[in-house]
């Protein structure tokens, strides 16, 4: 073992120590962190004069909820209890209860089951953003993704909101070109959701 080899070994060990400090220690700030400015992102008050109507759902015991939806949207009860489907110009959406297994967390379930399922089911699936938030005191995970099927491309904002029993998923989809104009309404709908069991 010559001097160069010893110098390289010492350099490698020092680099690993420095890496540990950057990853876990006092120099963590040096690392580029993805900062999710959570609640503030979806709680932006964007001027929108569309009036909303209350929908109080009492289909499933222990999973009562209230959500506010624009009066201009066409709302129907969904196939499953506790669900709605909706249609509006240049888009559509749904609200549904989601049973999360007890041996996992909602976030883990989204990342390990829901997103892989979406990747398979949605043509040209591309995640645009994922962030954690609070919706009326409930943990929520907002997934924004794009579907590139070409006829035309669309964007979906999916909010997974945790609950005492089931979780709820609010999916709102719009054509990519119209998404920006509809996003304020989507945010208002998602922020209006609240469980009514308490």
């Amino acid at each position: 073992m010559n001097r160069n080899v010893i110098v390289i070994l010492i350099g490698t060990v020092l680099s690993i120590v420095l890496l540990s400090l950057i990853a876990f220690g006092p120099f963590t700030r040096l690392r580029n962190q993805k900062s999710f400015n959570t609640a503030s992102l979806i709680r932006k008050t964007i001027p929108n004069n569309d009036s909303l109507a209350d929908y109080l759902n009492k289909d499933v015991k222990e999973n009562y909820y209230k959500v506010m939806l624009p009066v201009k949207w066409a709302i129907k009860a969904g196939d499953k209890p506790g669900s709605y489907t909706m249609e509006f110009p240049h888009g559509y959406g749904s609200i549904a209860l989601m049973d999360v297994p007890d041996n996992t967390t909602l976030e883990l379930y989204i990342l390990s089951q829901e997103e892989p399922r979406l990747k398979k089911a949605v043509p040209g699936y591309q995640r645009l953003n994922y962030r954690k938030a609070k919706v009326n005191g409930n943990d929520a995970y907002i997934l924004l993704f794009e579907e590139k099927s070409g006829n035309p491309d669309s964007r979906t904002m999916a909010a997974y909101i945790s609950g005492a029993d089931n979780a709820v998923v609010i999916r709102l989809t719009a054509d990519t070109t119209d998404f920006k104009s509809l996003e304020p309404s989507f945010n208002r709908v998602m922020n209006s959701f609240n469980w009514r069991n308490q």
Partner: protein
């Protein structure tokens, strides 16, 4: 032996680069991914450099022996 070490080092670098650029990291695991990927890259590069310089030193020794 040195060729095996070089191969393993390259594989470790490849693993690190894969974790760094291609692995779909859950947001809750970015910190550990950052550490593990760079750890592999540094270890792999260290291994390659050690392998190269080790060969040179052995070559020098062999040459010295031949000259004697």
């Amino acid at each position: 032996m040195r060729q095996i070490m070089l191969f393993i080092s390259m594989a470790v670098i490849g693993g690190g680069l894969y974790l760094k650029f291609f692995y779909d990291v859950p947001d809750s695991q970015t910190q550990i991914n950052f550490f593990v990927s760079w750890f592999f890259i540094i270890l792999g590069v260290g291994g390659v450099l050690v392998d190269i310089f080790w060969e040179k030193s052995v070559d020098h020794e062999n040459r010295d022996k031949d000259e004697l």
